[in-house]
């Protein structure tokens, strides 16, 4: 068993199935793209274990509480790990988290984006440890997100080429 898979099991974390798209919808882009030792991660939303979009959706600070949004950001972390494992075969290949951009669907006046995105960062640090897991990041408020999801995160990791 890979070291990261063992760590996920130890933390009681299960990676979700791939995002379930409505019938007939196909995406013209990959969730993860490998370029040498760089791995680019497309924007992911939160999904449930079966791959359906997580609820609640909507604007954080109005339709969704900050605490719910923090949980949703954690689900984005698991969705991204699922995409990475699907593409890389083994999450142990990841040698460093480079950068993430955390985008929060924000109601007017909601300014706690960093606390929301901590739901993502905390899981990455728990799973990978601080040396591999630490990443530069921004956490900002978007006007709208696809499918009215509350949190979307994109980023980049490094692998051994």
């Amino acid at each position: 068993m890979s070291r990261i898979d063992a760590r996920l099991a130890e933390l009681g974390l299960t990676l979700p199935a791939p995002l379930r798209l409505p019938p007939g919808v196909t995406l013209p882009f990959p969730w993860v793209s490998v370029r040498g030792n760089r791995v680019l991660i497309s924007g992911h939303g939160p999904v449930e274990p079966d791959g359906s979009l997580s609820e609640p959706r909507g604007k954080v600070g109005a339709d969704v509480t900050p605490e719910q949004a923090r949980d949703l950001a954690g689900k984005v972390a698991l969705a991204i790990l699922a995409s990475l494992r699907d593409e890389l075969g083994d999450l142990d290949r990841i040698t460093g988290w480079v950068k993430i951009l955390g985008m929060v669907n924000s109601a007017p006046g909601f300014n706690q984006q960093p606390e929301v995105i901590n739901g993502f960062t905390d899981i990455i640090l728990d799973v990978f440890g601080t040396e591999v897991g630490r990443h530069a990041r921004s956490a900002v408020g978007l006007a709208e997100l696809p499918f009215n999801i509350s949190v979307e995160i994109e980023g980049e990791v490094e692998i051994t080429a």
Copy 2:
């Protein structure tokens, strides 16, 4: 004739002239910046063949329909290709599309950003093929964009150094 130029001609696509700025305005940044084999693309908006900003402008979902926005995203693709050709000399030097960030000037409640940005992605895939053209991406809703344009896209491609 370069292979990509031939493909553009085959598809009936013509790259626009550089963006026409109002008199006296100069931009303190390059449209495209080469760093080794990485090419960083500044945020581009949609332009007409003569380099003027495309219409309509405004918020997608209110002032601009999703279909119009999809066309505008296609014009952004051509504007970016024009900037890349201007800097690189030959678009055949591009060995891979790495990542793009598609930003849609979104009216409240407009959540179809991915369909808008498909107008960009479809052209890149048509012109470069799926192997070179496929890219990680995010498609998200911005509150405002410069000059009230409806779509802005930034990204990165790889070249042979």
Copy 3:
């Protein structure tokens, strides 16, 4: 004295102290992260010389004038330079500015994001010169930013590894 430090002194620019966080708050991410010869810069806001968040805050075009926002973008430049010097030891190690993303907390109808972010770009070009300092960039309007700051900027620079 380093060449860049000398240039900062010549321009009368002083780098601020690190951002002062409210008591008990710790950030789970680094301001700057070095990966080989790449240096990723987390989203920074404007700070005063003592490390406190700059005023005014709020939406540019409503609470904050474009001219004030331009000054705030200049303060973001200095905050980023402070974080880079803290991490790298010597700003002379920077061999190129790669890319920045300028995010402006924008009131409805405010579309002069590029002029705001010029407050950042102008300082970088003044301090590093056009060859090292020139960078690809986007300047866009966000719905909300953390702590209701008016400008946030993230980016990447290159160093000799």
